[in-house]
Symmetry: C4
Subunit: 249 residues, 4 copies
């Protein structure tokens, strides 16, 4: 079998299939721009397909992203096997890789959504230090859009039970918890904190970064996007509830 390095790198991003990763990232970037998640070239999207990782480049206007703009990395060697000469790799790359390595994800979405940022600011302002590093909300139907991971202990409404474990998505009476890590001067330096949060919160479907945004992943694009949308909905609702003096839990 031919190694990736022997083939034409541009073939890696050329396909008529709209869900080929290079095309899919481009169309997702346009959607996320319309949602206000990647304004001013912020945020990013990556897809892992088998042993190839596709990454949108740094500094490109997201709504104008094209398949030929993509970086492609060999997941085993972590070497780029396609680098568009005009661009730099995204500073989010180590964070996306953390989701693939530590969670077996197939897609990772990073947004600068203001609702994510505001939720981290609200938590930061809470009097109780125990509440500052996690966004927690319960008894909102949209929570059911988020995977429970594998071992959420508070669950009482699992959709499917296998060998006693709770699997599937969170139930209405479960508490959704998303850890918040502190931002760093350089995005690539977030990697260690992100990995630590993933170890500490083995069921979490996302990590919030204070005053920055959120990283959300999933086993494939569909799950990652559904979770990113559901979380953004919950962050926005949470901000509005807070403004009205209503509790999240």
């Amino acid at each position: 079998m031919a190694s990736h390095t022997e083939q034409d790198p541009d073939a890696l991003v050329t396909s008529p299939d709209p869900i080929h990763p290079a095309n899919h990232i481009s169309s997702l970037c346009r959607k996320f721009y319309d949602l206000g998640w990647v304004t001013g070239t912020g945020g990013g999207v990556s897809i892992r397909k088998d042993d190839l990782v596709y990454l949108a480049p740094s500094g490109v206007q997201k709504e104008m992203m094209q398949p030929e703009d993509m970086f492609v990395m060999d997941y085993q060697t972590k070497q780029y096997i396609r680098k568009p000469p005009a661009y730099k790799p995204s500073a989010c790359t180590p964070l996306f890789l953390a989701a693939y390595t530590h969670r077996g994800a197939g897609c990772c979405i990073h947004t600068h959504s203001q609702w994510a940022v505001l939720v981290t600011l609200i938590c930061e302002s809470l009097p109780n230090p125990a509440e500052r590093n996690v966004f927690a909300i319960r008894e909102i139907e949209q929570i059911k859009g988020i995977s429970r991971g594998s071992s959420n202990p508070s669950s009482s409404t699992s959709e499917i039970a296998e060998g006693g474990r709770k699997v599937g998505n969170l139930g209405y009476f479960d508490t959704l918890r998303i850890p918040i890590i502190e931002n760093t001067a350089h995005e690539e330096d977030l990697e260690e904190r992100m990995a630590e949060a993933m170890r500490e919160w083995p069921e979490c479907a996302a990590v919030l970064v204070r005053r920055h945004g959120v990283y959300v992943w999933g086993r494939d694009v569909g799950q990652a996007k559904t979770q990113a949308e559901s979380l953004d909905y919950l962050f926005q609702l949470g901000v509005r509830m807070h403004g009205m003096g209503l509790k999240w839990t």
Copy 2:
């Protein structure tokens, strides 16, 4: 006359007509996604045409919905006569059927709109228990977009009077009332509460579900969509009025 079960099930969802139910549900899902009503695969749409009920499946990204994704049920027997193998039926199905059975509806729309959820949260927080289970608003022009049902006693401005009954839509000086039911762990368990609310509020055009969203119906797609939009407008206006300390009634 051939029974539905004898024909090719795929023929039930194949039509060049943009308002064939399978096509219409797909285009409505795209519109509702843009309105923020069905984010993260939440919410749903169903159309009843004669004795066929068309239902969008569970867990599909609404803005990508295709006619071939639809479930089709025989309304008389409640048996599916078309099931796309890749999908599960929507958990909203019994709720949609309640609107067809108890109200003779031709279309039912379920949204997770944040304005609907916030209105239920505001009501929940009111000091007067009598105000907690109904959203009521009056003297807003958009109320005229909502049907009065058949027996609204407070009406003084009926558009049409037949045999002494008030028919047509609510008037400007009428009070719009939408009951609020409590959410359940599993959407299908809402069925009984929904049916009870429909019996208790025989004129209501919709039922709000606390911390979840709203179910709106109509005799056809046009009326259901007009009422869903008008209600969402009133929920949003209601939230803003509440934030400014203004009364709804």
Copy 3:
């Protein structure tokens, strides 16, 4: 010259020209739907071209409006010379005619924008009765998008002066004033109040209707749309300023 009544009525709404009134109203309705001005079939648009008045029908979903849906009225006789059999004329018709008759307008736009409604609710809640029936704002650049009419006495920054009169648009230091009239049970009954407000406020470019929306006009579609957008911007900004405790004047 052939009278309108002798020609094929459908020819009145059939043209390949995108700014033919029947086409133009349809495309404006789609834009206004996206702006949230005509949700739930609310609001409306009319264009007067020479002695023909084009009117969108009642109860049609605005984003689906088609040229063949239009009513056409002879402005001199006030008789419909084209009536689509499936529809009823808009209840806004007498209000649109008031703008043509009393102001010589060429286009009139009616929105149910929540910002217009909220501005009327804020004014209604003010302690000073003198402030309840007019929305007034000054020293906001967007005010310059609104015509001064012909005799704004407070103006000190006229763009053009002819014979001592101030003409053109309002200046930055002018005060924009839009009268607010009370709503009625039936939209057609607003006609008298609207005409009275137009006489009392001879320079106003629009009339707000309490708890209902706004009517905006202009000499042509371009001016009416520019004024409708500028006013909606000012209503929205006004609501946000009010929420922050900032004065409008």
Copy 4:
């Protein structure tokens, strides 16, 4: 070499290239309309390409802008070499020229975004006079979308250091500062204040105009648009933070 005045002026705005300035301004205007930056014909866009300056005209609906609507000016002589007969030049022209002359910009964007206006109103209302004439914010990731100019003294996280100077974009721990100048009755009279602000704030990437909007520039369209989007994001976040009682710095 032929001077511009000898060639067909319409050739200056005719090109199949989507990033030819006449086409690019048109597509940017459509985007900015959707972002709410240029509602009611407000705001504007200009591109400088070599010694040609392209300018959108005054009073045209931005989402309908066409390449043939553009004014073209010779940057050396400041003479128009193409003037569409139906239009007047934009009153923003001297402000755009200030960005080209004093900052060597290649593109300048002027928006009436409500978030920009609200930020200037919030600053105006602050008790400390020193805070009234500058919008300052720090420790928000999106700040990294803004150029540091050439001499930001507070910087501690420069992306690139050349000869001891900080270059590239602002870092997360830098403070972004955008000066605010007072509005004038006529837009062209802002020129002197704008030039003064540019001299006083040699690193700033934009100038806010009180109760009016913002002027943002960049070395090319990509940088100007990225900065305009990042600033609008920060203005909006700043307004929301202020509403929640959170400090910007």
